[in-house]
């Protein structure tokens, strides 16, 4: 799953540690999500979308294959 988290985070001047603290996961998890190596759970995806004031589909996009 593709996402825009890294760009949105850096635009707001946040570190991975800051974002992890707000969302309630570890920094390693934020890093894995940004690198698209790990797809977050639905509650985490909702928390991220709410934080960036976006709809989930604006933050994440699904590409088959």
């Amino acid at each position: 799953m593709k996402n825009r988290i890294r760009g949105l985070r850096t635009e707001r001047g946040m570190t991975q540690e800051d974002l992890a603290e707000i969302i309630g996961v570890s920094r390693q998890t934020i890093n894995a999500i940004e690198k698209e190596k790990f797809d977050p759970s639905l509650p985490t995806a909702f928390r991220l979308a709410r934080l960036f004031d976006l709809q989930i589909e604006e933050l994440f996009s699904y590409e088959q294959g």
Binding site: E17, A20, E21, G24, V25, S26, Q28, T29, N31, A32, K37, F38, P40, S41, T44
Partner: protein, 133 residues
Amino acid sequence: METMKLERTKRVKKLAIWTWSWVATMAIATFGPEFIWDNHPFLTTFAILVNLANGVLMILANRDLFNHFDELEKKIHLESLAITLGLAVVVGLTYSLLDTTNMIEQNAQISMLVMFIGLTYLTSVIISTLRYK
């Protein structure tokens, strides 16, 4: 995050204490009958029960730590547990087969399987963690 880190440290410490306590009571129950209390049946039974109770508390401390993991950490540990469980059954039974068919000189030891499980789990967690870096 500080609260999260403090809570994690607290749970890791709790697990470490119960693990060391379990190892210590295991050593006492193993060597005590011969070297400390001259095979007294009550003391031997008591030492074994204390060790068992310590083991249960260690498992509960491990569960507490697991429940504090976030979703990626849980995934890493679940994958590692699945690999470890599969390998423990397959390799453990192969090892037992080697013993019963006299393909190995020494008798199969449970301690060898326990060491294998520990090393497999550790290796799996390290490899899985690196995969998500």
